[in-house]
Symmetry: C2
Subunit: 387 residues, 2 copies
């Protein structure tokens, strides 16, 4: 081989450690082996925790030698696995690797016993995959995987310094695989937590929805429409609307009516119009929502959406009569989505408006009840058939 092992190894291990997606990492390693080290083909057998066996993850090389991914699986009692997991290859080679021609010669002069049987079994496995050299990857003493290398393209045999390179590489591969797995476990756990949070808030909001006889599914629709409006507006407000804003909006839209939990059922479910006093009590759901959530520091922006989703652009809303730009954008978006859903939904005492009429209404109220840009975004969504 014409490469400078040390340099190649350093470069490789540096790149490997940055790859946190185990599958991508494995593919990268095999590609490097075939391209840089110039072997005819290379495979990796990788330990799988769930199956508690070793699975051929990727293989590369001329089509005839390419083993389909996941096609081959070796159990813990397979000779090739055992010879490395029990670290018995050290009986036959000083560097704990197997190079086929050398090992074959050793086997020919060995007395038949348990260890020679193991070597024979391992060599038989190597024949199946047309592997000329096998190098184990450990993390501490756990066998994480085995590199299986085909013959060198230049036809020469593997030299001691080359095997030394592979052993060092395999050690880095072991570390990189472990690092990538740790990352993957963490990101998986994070995704699970995010989903759990989303699901529990949705479930609880839905339960509160269910108290309010008129509004079945209201919360979920407001969440959906709010997201669409926000996506639409993000072109106009690229500095305001980022991933964090979207996430806050999702939580706030789900929880916008959470304060209704503090409103007496007699008012919440009253058939017919509310008295002025009852109406004042009803309006308190905005500040009750704030109270419920205000101790949670991470929800600071969400709380604004919950508290101010009944403010109006012209200052005639509640609870504080904020005007124009004083109203946080997150609240302005929920306000339009909330009103839209109220307009088009049926109520016991009236039928919901057709979408077209609701849009006329929203257009008419832009700059009065609604933030003009938000109202425009809503109408555009409708015109584009996205609502």
């Amino acid at each position: 081989m014409s490469i400078d092992y040390k340099k190649e190894l350093e470069k490789a291990s540096k790149t490997m450690i940055l790859v946190h997606e185990p599958d991508t990492l494995i593919k990268m390693i095999v590609r490097m082996l075939v391209q840089k080290v110039k072997v005819s083909h290379a495979n990796i057998l990788l330990h799988n925790h769930i199956a508690d066996s070793y699975i051929m993850k990727v293989s590369r090389g001329p089509l005839g030698l390419k083993v389909p991914e996941g096609f081959t699986r070796m159990d813990n009692d397979n000779a090739l696995i055992r010879i490395f997991s029990e670290e018995k290859a050290t009986l036959f080679s000083s560097d704990n690797t197997i190079v086929y021609p050398k090992a074959k010669k050793i086997l020919d002069i060995l007395v038949k016993n348990e260890n020679s049987d193991l070597l024979r079994g391992a060599l038989y496995q190597m024949e199946i995959f047309d592997a000329v050299a096998c190098v184990p990857c450990y993390f501490q003493h756990d066998l994480l995987g085995i590199l299986l290398l085909g013959s060198k393209k230049d036809g020469t045999e593997f030299e001691a310094d080359e095997m030394q390179f592979f052993v060092a590489l395999a050690s880095d591969v072991g570390m990189a695989i472990r690092n990538a797995k740790l990352f993957k476990d963490l990101t998986d756990e994070l995704d699970k937590r995010k989903a759990l949070f989303k699901n529990i808030t949705k479930a609880l909001a839905a339960a509160i929805d269910a108290k309010d006889n008129y509004t079945g599914g209201h919360t979920d629709r407001v969440r959906e429409v709010s997201q669409k409006v926000s996506d639409k507006l993000s072109q106009k407000y690229p500095d305001l609307i980022d991933d964090a804003f979207s996430e806050d909006l999702e939580i706030a839209s789900v929880l916008h009516d959470i304060g209704k939990i503090g409103i007496p059922e007699s008012i919440l479910n009253k058939q017919g119009p509310l008295s002025p006093e009852e109406w004042n009590t009803m309006k308190e759901h905005t500040v009750i929502g704030e109270k419920i959530l205000e101790s949670i520091q991470e929800l600071e922006n969400c709380v604004k959406g919950v508290k101010y989703h009944h403010e109006r652009y012209d200052g005639t809303g509640y609870p504080e009569g904020l005007k124009g730009a004083q109203i946080p954008l997150i609240a302005a978006i929920i306000a339009v989505a909330d009103s839209y859903d109220a307009m088009v939904s049926d109520r016991p005492y009236r039928k919901g408006l057709p979408q077209e009429k609701a849009m006329d209404e929203i257009e008419k109220l832009a700059g009065k009840q609604f933030h003009p840009d938000v109202a425009v975004a809503m109408v555009e969504l409708y015109r584009e058939g996205k609502l």
Copy 2:
């Protein structure tokens, strides 16, 4: 130096990449420099994103040279920072490092200009820290930090191969720091998510608590007592009670009365005894709680705690009349904690029992209303003054 650079470097970078706590990592690197490489002292200047400057993270060596952690901070326009961040050290040394005696000699013969001023400033900074050699750590082209090394203990000067070792080491340090930071960001984010989840469930449960006029703070007390009972029981049930159980129990105890959201206020807040019909409606809060949460797959075990926290050991409870071991342990624990809090809390129509009397009651009901082991754990906690 008597060490085998290559081996030491490989070993070091392998250990480094496994350390995911940046501060521990930095300490480890400095310790290694002083012990293995045998320099009088070593410091690391590390870039801090929030302060947008470089902070002396740790220093090690004889007391006189030890700089207190965080004591020194260098801004981006500091000469020592600029010479490396602008990669201008390459003007004076082929390997982009600064070795003081050599650099001093170069400075003496340089024409005074912008670059010689920069070198002069950098050397002045090195004098302050008694640093003989400076080696930058980059990730890609971002200057992550600078290693500052004191003089060699054997009194000789740094040789080219030693500097080569430090440059390679610094490159690994850069990678390890970045890897550790990524891990820390992920685990921080995960911790934040866990806290957020806990806080939102607590806030919503407290809001539901508030509906039920009698039970201010009830949910939070049930959570606390449940955890204590579970900790106590973990010695007896080491296979059943692990971290996952504890977490499920915490969620389930917080949400155990979530189904009350579906019970009419007229029943929930009725002054005086409930009629048999009203009582049947009240009992439904267990299955309503189940309905609210059952779609969330991750809460499968929590749902059991919510649904069955009114079952009794002798089979006379609700909703299903489960008996003995049929009742999930998570529910049996919440049942005792819930009853205990009801016993000792004041109600409008009666005063709460003294703790001692409540314990007599729980002991008496062990094996009847309560799981005997859970009841015993509760009483033991009280006797130990832990309740």
